[in-house]
Symmetry: C2
Subunit: 535 residues, 2 copies
């Protein structure tokens, strides 16, 4: 069978035109697994996404090489001699006195169980009543009961993460993103903030600038700054960062004036952006990708809120949009990822279980081209090694052995509807309690955050007090009324010589109950009215 | 009550002379906890070792300041604005729409159980039969059933780690080390290799040298190198690194010739050193500490094998030494830590659960002065955040709620005896199967490793072949015989222009069964004889 021709994205107006064979569908997983045979992966087993990807990937073009973008630090990472000796472990009959791996006999955990929801009964009450208890023993693998057990999970692992979890996230990534180049791979992370630290160290040198939205995840900026890396903000609208402004900024980059070479990396949160709640449309993503191609920018796609894309907002008086009727419909309703349009292999996507399972797992994963994943895994070997084996085992039992990909998508649909409800409660409260002439907002389509814009020019002291002082006044007035919201200036990408012209506050609809949220917004309304001298 | 006078270590020959009041003993824990009252620490609660330390610490002198040693990177770390706003969360009645913490309602784990040994019945068989099942629910804290639950463990935490685990490791550290200065603190890590990465970034700049044993943990060297930090090896004997050689090296440091300023940091593994198995005696540690004081060296005390100190080796025909009769006797049998003699606050000690509970927990902790811990925690906030909450919860249930400090020490005694048995099997096999004229060794007093010295000058090709070529020949001959041992040269501290004069192989007694170990050593003996042309 001849491979279909991949069409170069440069020549077409829409990446949808690229024809790719055999993408993994939900229904295809069982068949592929059956064909591959039983997963055999013991203690510290070598693994790779390549073991679990579809054959279609072998027909796709390879990713670009990024040798010229790798930092001095990343280029100098060598594979460890000891890990190199692992190849001899395959010799039949070999006895290893090589690696200092403790004996499973001395791990004082004989069995672990978790009680989890049985799809589609996801509520806490239902789980209490009809949840499923998943059990992991120490030697389930040699007993033939499972592909993963405590003896493996509790021992050392390799820098990719366990084969068991790499299989799951690789399949999930292929189902959701199906990257258009062939040599993509996944590696587990201990969370996206640490992934960012390592990624900056792969691509950047001291003195570099990284592009981002003008308001951005504060921890990303604070992770970069001590490394000598500054963020430079790109202007935004309701759909997030503006491709034209990015192009302009790069086209007119004055290395001399900036004291720094032209940026090579864009950090972006495309869906439910923190703090603005903005979600880039499909066409916006295409436009940004094209600008990235034009200026050869590497894209860090940070997507903790990707699956918190919500139902369209219909307003307080219109009926809600019916939920996705199936997993396939749900997948189709999601805005395509950068990874899904990444013909060049210029995207490193960060996924996280923090917002969709639990932050305390401290497990996430990245997807990028083989070259970048290899550098990342070398780095893991000399830092975090891999995420907690206990977390990995719990996630494997839940996501793979119990729910499967279908059950996981059902869970994500459930979460989508829950967050839709929460957002709608917050928006209803805003419409009811906030003075429209002062406070305005765009209903968020994804994420956890509402970005409230304050027309501060109407403040009685707007001509005598600085914008920052007025922001502080409102913040403290809100605290005095009994509500904590985050100040917009905390999220500015540019930390030095930044003079804001607009004023924002960020409110989350993730944490409080519906009733408390409404009360909180009412209090915020009182605080704002007070500061602006309104009735 | 007047505080007793602390005596400056410079003025005395032995740190034991320092009189300190009220050190925490095993029996003192319950009384102190009763006095402190119930531990109340919810989601992402702020915590500090200071909440859990004994009053004696307030009388001790404070640690030295290390401002002049902090790197550019570390100095530039600022507390996050968002985390600063957390102080308002204590306002009564305040509703927070601030932080984006997900609701526990959406964590799909309702209950978690682990089956663990009931002290003193630690074997796998006994655990199967009479183990204890520990259970954690989602809302055990609000239900009054526990001080820690899934709703807290599965959410975000702060950079110190959970209050629940910080309490345990702080008490444990006080029982074992009782640091002689007052403002010591602990912070959890995701493992000592990552702690090393962060610590190098706190103390070192590109181009720096770090002191270490001449043969050292390969991953430590490989963690430092990409940061532009080289290791410089200090000569060793059977008790590990030589204080005099360290003094000489530092006294004669030629910054110009080396192209680098005088080292400021010593990395050492004092007990059961990897790869040599050497254990520094108490007097050696004192001598090294004094040299560190003389040259103002900061000490990284990496102690994964501290509790794998074994019973004295009595040889194949003598009866074994009776095991410690009590927890107190066990504690007294341990060689004092650097932290326990650290009057200056110049030690950062790394502890790990990897070798004594399980590597897959990916939980360890560091102890150092408040200043350094604060810098470390700031760094955690912009990288790993904290270890897996699931791991922390499992460890808390096991170590704190079930075993307590006493049960944990019993477990460590059990481990001591198990490793003693394993070491003795390996040594017996060495005595039986290895040609004494070629291979020699010191019986290790701690750890997992035996360091076999090869008298390579007796090799038939010693005058024509390089030492490295002969090392490789023996390594491959052993592989051909069916045994993998690690080559000594893999562990050399100096990676560039290093010409070894001695030859070593490292064998572990941690991994294989007794029978397999004996067989492996027999095979190694055959390989050596073959290479050296012996009968």
């Amino acid at each position: 069978m001849a491979p279909p021709t991949a069409i170069d994205i440069e020549g077409v107006t829409d990446t949808e035109a690229i024809v790719l064979p055999d993408p993994l569908t939900l229904n295809g997983v069982s068949a592929r697994r059956a064909k591959a045979g039983k997963l055999v992966a013991g203690t510290a087993a070598f693994t790779s996404s390549d073991f679990f990807k579809g054959s279609s990937n072998t027909w796709k073009p390879k990713a670009k090489r990024w040798d010229h973008y790798l930092s001095v630090e990343s280029r100098s990472r060598q594979p460890s001699s000891l890990k190199g000796a692992a190849k001899f472990l395959n010799n039949p009959g070999l006895i290893s006195l090589g690696g200092g791996l403790p004996c499973a006999e001395y791990f004082p955990i004989e069995e672990l169980t978790v009680k989890v929801p049985s799809p589609p009964h996801f509520s806490e009450q239902e789980t209490k009543e009809s949840g499923t208890v998943l059990k992991a023993g120490k030697y389930d693998v040699s007993g033939g009961h499972s592909a993963y057990d405590l003896s493996i999970a509790l021992n050392y692992g390799l820098g990719t993460g366990s084969a068991q979890m790499i299989r799951f996230v690789t399949e999930h990534t292929e189902i959701v993103c199906n990257p258009p180049y062939g040599d993509w791979q996944c590696a587990l992370t201990v969370g996206s903030t640490h992934a960012l630290d390592q990624t900056f160290r792969i691509f950047c040198e001291r003195g570099d600038y990284v592009l981002s939205e003008e308001y951005t995840f504060a921890s990303a900026v604070e992770t970069a700054l001590p490394l000598g890396i500054k963020f430079v903000g790109i202007k935004m609208d309701a759909e997030g960062l503006l491709a034209e402004d990015m192009d302009e900024l790069l086209t007119n980059w004055d290395a001399q004036a900036r004291g720094s070479r032209k940026p090579r990396v864009l950090y972006t949160v495309p869906s439910g952006q923190n703090p603005t709640g903005a979600t880039q449309s499909k066409s916006r993503r295409h436009a940004i990708y094209k600008v990235a191609q034009k200026h050869d920018i590497y894209i860090l796609e940070d997507e903790p809120y990707y699956f918190l894309q919500m139902q369209p907002y219909t307003g307080p008086n219109a009926p809600p949009v019916p939920p996705p009727a199936s997993n396939d419909e749900f997948l189709k309703a999601l805005i395509p990822t950068y990874l899904s349009m990444d013909t060049d292999g210029r995207v490193l996507r960060m996924d996280s279980f923090s917002k969709v399972i639990a932050p305390g797992t401290r497990v996430g994963w990245i997807t990028a081209s083989e070259q970048i994943i290899e550098r990342y895994v070398r780095h893991n070997e000399c830092s975090v090694q891999n995420p907690s084996g206990i977390s990995q085992l719990v996630l494997y039992k839940l996501l793979d052995e119990s729910w499967g990909h279908g059950g996981y998508l059902q869970w994500l649909i459930n979460l989508r509807l829950e967050y839709t409800k929460r957002r709608d409660v917050l928006l209803t409260a805003c419409e009811k309690y906030l003075p429209k002439e002062i406070v305005s907002w765009d209903p968020p389509a994804a994420g956890m955050f509402l970005w409230l814009k304050i027309n501060w020019t109407l403040h009685p002291a707007s001509s005598s007090k600085s914008i920052t002082a007025i922001e502080e006044e409102i913040f403290l007035a809100a605290i005095a009324q009994g509500v904590l919201v985050s100040r917009g200036s905390w999220f500015s990408a540019d930390r030095s010589d930044f003079t804001p012209t607009d004023m924002f506050f960020r409110a989350t609809f993730a944490a409080a109950t519906g009733e408390k949220m409404a009360e909180a917004i009412e209090r915020f309304g009182v605080a704002v009215r007070e500061c602006f001298g309104l009735e």
